[in-house]
Subunit: 210 residues, 4 copies
């Protein structure tokens, strides 16, 4: 095959992107290095030039995904013009607000990922996003819309439940079942954060429309 030289950064990014896509589609364990390099059209050696092992690239993918999520969340959390409630809506809502080519946080979190990737990213997402959300909760307490003692741990618990329960098909729920669960989730979140019933309606847009 023709040897195609690329800038190292570009080649590395290409491999991460492709591997990530394939891992999400077929699962980490079922994805051989062979599959990845065939998809890209490079040689085996090239893969091992950039990554010293297969677990190595898994880490790179999780890191990349998370930094994207965190960056987006941070930019919202740090926006001084938004109220706590608006920030919550922006981060947890289901409607597109801005750009088209970038996924929204809520969407990113629900990609039909697989086990290994899933668990790793789910956990890291909870751990890294919780402080950001907790900070918003603190802001909300100041604004008088939330009342809760331990924002970080509370957010962590709620986030974990939400993430794992309604996440990419782990539980095998139907669409209707998922809707009910999201409604209940909203109620629990409102109670746990001590906010007005209905204040998290943005989580269930259809019901809000009804």
């Amino acid at each position: 095959m023709a040897r195609i030289v690329k800038a190292p950064e570009e080649r590395r990014a290409e491999i991460v992107e492709t591997a990530g896509r394939l891992f999400r589609k077929h699962g980490y364990a079922k994805c051989s290095v062979e599959m990845i390099i065939r998809e890209i059209g490079v040689a085996k050696g090239t893969f091992y030039y950039y990554f010293k092992s297969k677990p190595d690239i898994l880490e790179a993918i999780v890191d990349k995904t998370l930094s994207q999520i965190v960056e987006m969340a941070s930019s919202v959390a740090d926006d001084p013009s938004l109220s706590a409630m608006q920030k919550m809506a922006a981060l947890l809502g289901n409607s597109h607000i801005g750009d088209d080519d970038s996924l929204e946080v809520a969407e990113m979190l629900h990609l039909p990922e697989n086990r290994e990737l899933h668990e790793l990213t789910n956990i890291q997402t909870v751990l890294q996003l919780s402080p950001i959300l907790a900070q918003i909760v603190e802001q909300g307490i100041g604004e008088g819309v939330f009342e809760v003692e331990r924002p970080l741990e509370t957010i962590q618990f709620l986030f974990t439940g939400a993430q794992f329960l309604t996440d990419g098909g782990m539980f095998g729920f139907s669409e209707a079942e998922l809707r009910t669960r999201r409604l209940v989730m909203q109620t629990i979140i409102e109670k746990a954060l001590g906010s007005t019933p209905g204040s998290f309606d943005f989580m269930n847009p259809i019901r809000a429309v009804e």
Copy 2:
């Protein structure tokens, strides 16, 4: 190797038990059939005499674990002499009440299991235990100690959060961190179920002592 004949059920149970232990210790994928049979001291053929494939025994293990959990929970839930709150305490509390040789539900749920086993049992546990707990909540509503609209879905959400967040090391929390999380969980549960603050103190016995 010497041929040691055993009663089929005994041999089968022996294999399930050993495989379960090794899966929990090293993970399903990293545990070869070779490891299992070497541990027991039987031939490979013996393994395949009882289980037709490796996934097959994984299923057997999950089934066994779950039926134990469900059986125990049911016996508590069906006891007419106990109040809803007593049942909750019995199922979610951390103190041993009865027999010594059998694990309590709460303990079973927190075994340091691995991915495959983990996810499978976690999910099934939530799905199968939720109705039983929901039924107790209904009883509690009748007794005036709970107030909640959708017991099943509420329980499912709370259970999922609890299960995944404080479960065998997935999140890598320290003991202190786990304690804080359990405290918060208690508060959220009390709020979500509409019960008196402090009524779920049994979840955090040490704090109760303090």
Copy 3:
């Protein structure tokens, strides 16, 4: 399972019969001893009580099949009331003459058998049946209907061609192709044995009807 005691002869015959049927259906190599004993409903040990190995029973099956074929052919060949041509028709024709429950020679020879069984029985059939057919040819020479120098070898060659070419699907011929081949076979046989054209019409009954 209940232990069912049978007369040794009966049990042995039962195993041979069942194994033969399965070998013909799935092939010798693909048929495990397990399959055979499960089909009969006896234990592994029982199989090995009657046959010391798997190849052993293959031989028993071939022997049995062949002795049936040879016996039937002999009874025809030895019938003093039939002419050579009548005997040929009886042995190679495609129409049923007598009993219903026993297969005719021609039919037996074309069972859709598998490789191992196939080759073994084909070869043995050719070797054991050839002398009998050769003897009929000798009779025919005496009766003035055949003219050929070396009946045995001639028969052997013709038989081999017929057996392997039109046999159970080895060549993958369609029904139409098989018909054409049978027509040509008839011509060659007539020429090789020096008999009148059309004298072997019984081999192609449909054409005879046309």
Copy 4:
């Protein structure tokens, strides 16, 4: 083991050649991949780098053998300077005419091959060589040396008989028995093709000498 890199075609050919030799010697089923790679001195992975399964290489061997046979036969059949009878002699005769390093067709056909390889190549040989021989027969009809109605089917039948009957030891004939059979085959072929007795004497060179 030392890593010896070779040109892919060379390595592939080496594996096909070695596997072919071993299959012919011990039989396809009794030849493990292990045996093959040990004989060549490469790693297991190397085998599976070139062939995706064991049946895969069987096919490669049969293909290679057949294309050699067909190529040789075609070059003879297409030679405009030869008469039909000369072509027959060239293809079916037992004496070497030309090159030394390549096996003659007749020899190739009689290699002591095993079941699977045997049956597959025998059948394919008959199917692929028949049209070429039939074409020669047509030429012979034009030249007035043959007289036969259905050349293709006739050739197929004769070829099948010859191939299987005198082929590498299937029937276990002695040299003397084989000689007699070849003599008879000659007669039958002459009769079936309607050619002059003795015109196929090249098939039995020793007798011709006698």
